[in-house]
Symmetry: C2
Subunit: 290 residues, 2 copies
Amino acid sequence: MTLDATTAAASPLAIICGGGSLPQAVAQAVDRTGRRCVLFAIRGWAEPAAVEAFPHHWVDLGRYGRFRRLMQAEGCRDVVFIGTVLRPSLTQIRLDWETVRVLPDVWRAFHGGDNHLLSGVGRILGGHGYRLIGAHEVAPDILVPEGPLGRCAPSARDMADIAVALDLLRATSPFDVGQGAVVADRHVLAVEAAEGTDGMLDRIADLRRQGRIQTRPGVGVLVKAAKIGQDHRFDLPTIGPKTVDGVARAGLAGLAVVAGATIMAEPQEIVRQANAAGVFAAGVRPPQAE
Amino acid sequence: MTLDATTAAASPLAIICGGGSLPQAVAQAVDRTGRRCVLFAIRGWAEPAAVEAFPHHWVDLGRYGRFRRLMQAEGCRDVVFIGTVLRPSLTQIRLDWETVRVLPDVWRAFHGGDNHLLSGVGRILGGHGYRLIGAHEVAPDILVPEGPLGRCAPSARDMADIAVALDLLRATSPFDVGQGAVVADRHVLAVEAAEGTDGMLDRIADLRRQGRIQTRPGVGVLVKAAKIGQDHRFDLPTIGPKTVDGVARAGLAGLAVVAGATIMAEPQEIVRQANAAGVFAAGVRPPQAE
């Protein structure tokens, strides 16, 4: 690292914004620390409502040259990348020359799966003198702590389901599958992949309506865990009020995530919804360290 | 084994029928060999149309005593269990006394997951002097052979996707998850659990319509494989025309299953549909023996 970290920390923080409410949550948390932030909202991903309260620029995938010029004009050195990401369709991207120059590197990263894609982009930015940091480093209070967030806590039976799910997610970890699974009574009901967590929870609710889930409502857990070796700067699992709502509608007992390695969007709303629905939302420590 | 296998083979074959068209396919295949078969159609699972062409009795879960008496009256010693199974809701089952006597064994099996459940039932029947055999033993032509079934064959790219899927299914094997996965361009799009293969394929079609799958149509494979250590007498993966239709609607290149360890329902119809849709349906040998 040739960069002077002190200088970088004094500079405005660049937040590259994907979709969802997390970019706003991170910007607010950073704002509370007194550091200025500049949002780079990715067109097609970022939501206008999530970025408009802060200084921001709309940027396009494939326009790396423009992004670099804006970064320089704003005096940014530290970059955080946060928010939901859609796999871009290459045909929809118009490229500028600077992007063409880095494209071989991006291409290599792209073909290694999501996690590699983001790590690859991180390496490229790092090579250009920027410092990629995790949202949790600039806003540590967005991480789920250990223990239940609301009034409800997992039972011994739930803990057994959580253990099965963590084992399963460890086994699927090398395969660039999703980061979630639903286990009820030690029986795996769903494994997350391209449909995402919300899609998986909708499926459980549907299967239950169709009478295809025999464990009774109130039994079963959603578990999310980062892939082993995942670069925490880019792609930590995330929960929000929508996740809690999905868990309740799926008739599960609650949700568990890895404490200190999961981002929570709108924590007060998570607690309120969990208490209202009588489900737990808890940070747990996996049996083995990563 | 105290049973005289020759005597048993001369006796009528009892086919316990779950749902779908497979019980009929097996009964027809056994019929062609000249052996008499008696179908025991499980109420709520078996389809009347699939059993009515053969001598049959309707039986209820939880009425093991009646089943035993019918078996004795028919002179059956060999039993095949075939067809789709729903996890029974215990509250819907009325028990007879013989069932109550074997219930502790069933209960133990039940709590080990699907595969254990069926193996447990197998052990119980074996203990009562019956011989549980696999459908493929009495009707070997229902197994998928090695190579493509229709005109289309997997490409090198498809073979790479198949290899990823087989690796993934080996990793999830200890967890009593489903037996299927969809991989496109080495990226895992879906892992099957409680929704079943058809449900998983519907999901891929939906995600594609929503623009959430970026690999283009015609790329990607469905792979089904038996769990490692699975008892082949009870729960071999199955494909049928509906599977091929689902693969085509999901925009995949084709489907691959483990040759010699997968049952096919209506093979002529599988070939016809695969050729019409331009997808492959192939039996493959996994890289490592089980």
